[in-house]
């Protein structure tokens, strides 16, 4: 988990770099605008969308309230079908389990379909250590893997890459020049990755939802790589955060109706696949072995407290697409895994506030995220609560706490207010030189303090 920790000034430093890059700014504007518009259309085309949001919220909360029970039921149901279920308390346990599966199978090549949890635990590095090369097959993630970078958006991971960037990366791997045209780039990626699908010893996927009643896992992709990775290689390993459970397939339907509509505006992703155990007798393809790794990695800490609603997140990306701050900075400023409003809430909860102190303040609290969330997580309220925790847990700086204490002492009485503001008025020429005044005045004109309203009446 230490890899997820964020040094204090990271957000501001990376934000500066992204703000200065006109191409990235255009890419962020265009892609978030498009995805947001698609979601708005999809929601407005669905008359029952508000009821579905409420039901989805209730379904997710009912699972959070009995998570242990659901994990047990899921494990029993899938085991009865011949699947293997492993509950991993930590990132290390999860990586070790998967690495052991690969080692036991002598796996040289693993084909990976999108899994944010696998990034969270640093799986690819753990596999390399046992001699298994993990290739990302989601087109955007593959491009980033070739570039040695991390995804910057839940749904559109390679937002910041141009066609020229992609052409350069693919040309290097294909060993011949590929022009930066969409069709040719797509064909090159398809041909290259086809070999990966066909030759992989192990297929590794994430899980969008798991159904506790039936022991099924649901994968949603547009490309088909999730299906390929879970059908062709002889072993399929699926990794999920433990909060991904839903009780029944009827509940799954509610969430599926919201997921694609909220993420990309589609009614359903092209491939919505429900997998229930490994291949059955007589089937000619499908994995012989199915392993589902259920990951805790700090989620248990959220179960009983004020932040439990954050576990309802279905990773659709809708909050990223409406966030005015994400629009300017992109995902890298937040972390290499989770970003935008959901990242600003989840990351401090997983790694501890002291390891991500700027994230709760990387927001203007506009509330657009809460409006956009299909499962009605009150994201901006949780950010406000995290800010309170920063102070209560002593993470907020000593200088800040003293400043607010002094301010509150003065401003809780009319005399103190008058005296402090009279001083401020006198000190105006200096205001732009230190502290918050300086941060303001570097980029904006400072407001002028004249006669107060109360003295003019």
């Amino acid at each position: 988990m230490a890899e997820l920790a964020q040094p204090p000034r990271r957000f501001r430093e990376i934000a500066r770099v992204k703000l200065a890059d006109a191409h990235i700014q255009t890419a962020l504007d265009d892609s978030t605008d498009r995805l947001r518009t698609h979601r708005l259309h999809a929601w407005s085309d669905l008359p029952e969308v508000q009821e579905l949001r409420q039901r989805a919220h209730e379904i997710r909360m009912s699972v959070i309230d009995d998570l242990d029970g659901h994990v047990e039921r899921f494990t029993a149901a899938l085991s009865a079908r011949g699947g293997n279920v492993y509950f991993a308390r930590t990132a290390e346990e999860a990586s070790e389990y998967v690495a052991n599966v690969c080692r036991r199978r002598g796996a040289k090549l693993a084909a990976k379909s999108k899994s944010m949890v696998s990034e969270e635990i640093g799986l690819n590095q753990a596999l390399e250590a046992v001699g298994t090369q993990a290739i990302e097959t989601d087109l955007g993630e593959y491009i980033l893997q070739l570039a040695g970078e991390h995804p910057v958006h839940i749904v559109a991971p390679a937002i910041e890459k141009t066609a020229e960037d992609v052409a350069e990366l693919l040309s290097a791997v294909r060993g011949k020049r590929i022009p930066p045209h969409l069709e040719e780039l797509t064909n090159a990626a398809r041909t290259q990755l086809r070999e990966t699908f066909l030759n992989a010893d192990v297929g590794i996927t994430g899980v969008n939802f798991a159904v506790s009643e039936t022991g099924s896992i649901c994968l949603c992709t547009n490309e088909g790589n999730g299906r390929l990775v879970s059908s062709i290689p002889p072993v399929h390993v699926a990794i999920m955060g433990m909060e991904r459970l839903v009780p029944t397939t009827a509940d799954l339907a509610v969430l599926l109706k919201l997921l694609a509509r909220s993420g990309t505006g589609q009614k359903l992703t092209v491939y919505t696949t429900l997998l229930t155990g490994p291949r059955r007798a007589g089937e000619t393809d499908g994995p012989e072995e199915l392993h589902v790794v259920i990951l805790d990695n700090g989620r248990t800490n959220l179960l009983r407290g004020r932040y439990r609603e954050m576990l309802a997140c279905i990773r659709c990306g809708a909050c990223l697409n409406v966030c005015p701050v994400y629009r300017k900075t992109g995902g890298a400023a937040y972390s290499d895994v989770y970003s935008g409003p959901m990242g600003a809430v989840l990351l401090p909860l997983l790694v501890g506030l002291q390891h991500a102190p700027s994230l709760p303040h990387a927001s203007s609290l506009c509330g657009a995220c809460t409006e956009a969330c299909p499962v009605k997580i009150p994201l901006h309220e949780l950010l406000l609560d995290l800010r309170r925790d920063l102070v209560a847990e002593g993470v907020a700086s000593w200088a800040e706490r003293v400043s607010f204490w002094l301010w509150s002492w003065a401003w809780s009485r009319p005399f103190g207010y008058r005296a402090s503001t009279a001083l401020a008025r006198l000190g105006q020429p200096l205001a732009g030189l230190v502290g918050p005044g300086r941060a303001w005045a570097r980029v904006r004109a400072l407001p002028r303090l004249g006669r107060r309203y109360r003295d003019r009446r």
Partner: protein
């Protein structure tokens, strides 16, 4: 030989038959399916389908009218890769197997789930390069649905 899935399909079909009467908008399930399937980029045929060399030809278990999806279940005679690896996927779907949507699908299937149930809505696509739509990234580039009239 009729198995559980076929019995379930029959009762679903009876329900669907009752609903074949036009809904408030004057649209049948079949018409709704065709409109939505074409909207996501499928080619839809009534009765006989195209003869495309190298196409993977599968039989769909169900269709979903509200999204234009075909539902494929892995089985000994329906390998998963048939609808995945070829460039062109042709699927046969009986009209009386078209259900309104996901709710009805899961209600009909109950606890009797295949090892892999693929709900496929159009050809494979990605918008990962500059947010522009590319078709046929990994899965089939073309999906052809052949609707077979009810028995």
């Amino acid at each position: 030989m009729r198995d559980d899935a076929e019995h379930k399909a029959d009762s679903a079909a009876a329900e669907v038959g009752a609903r074949q009467c036009r809904d408030a908008a004057g649209v049948t399930l079949v018409e709704e399916f065709v409109a939505n399937a074409e909207a996501v980029g499928c080619h839809v045929y009534r009765g006989t389908g195209p003869d495309i060399e190298g196409a993977g030809v599968s039989t769909a278990l169900y269709g979903l009218a509200d999204t234009g999806s075909v539902v494929l279940a892995a089985a000994p005679d329906e390998p998963r890769s048939r609808s995945l690896l070829p460039d062109v996927h042709v699927t046969m779907l009986a009209e009386d197997r078209i259900l309104p949507g996901l709710d009805e699908l899961f209600a009909t299937l109950g606890a009797d789930l295949p090892s892999a149930l693929a709900i496929v809505t159009g050809p494979s696509r990605s918008a990962d390069i500059e947010q522009k739509l590319a078709v046929g990234v990994h899965g089939p580039r073309e999906v052809h649905v052949v609707l077979l009239p009810s028995a």
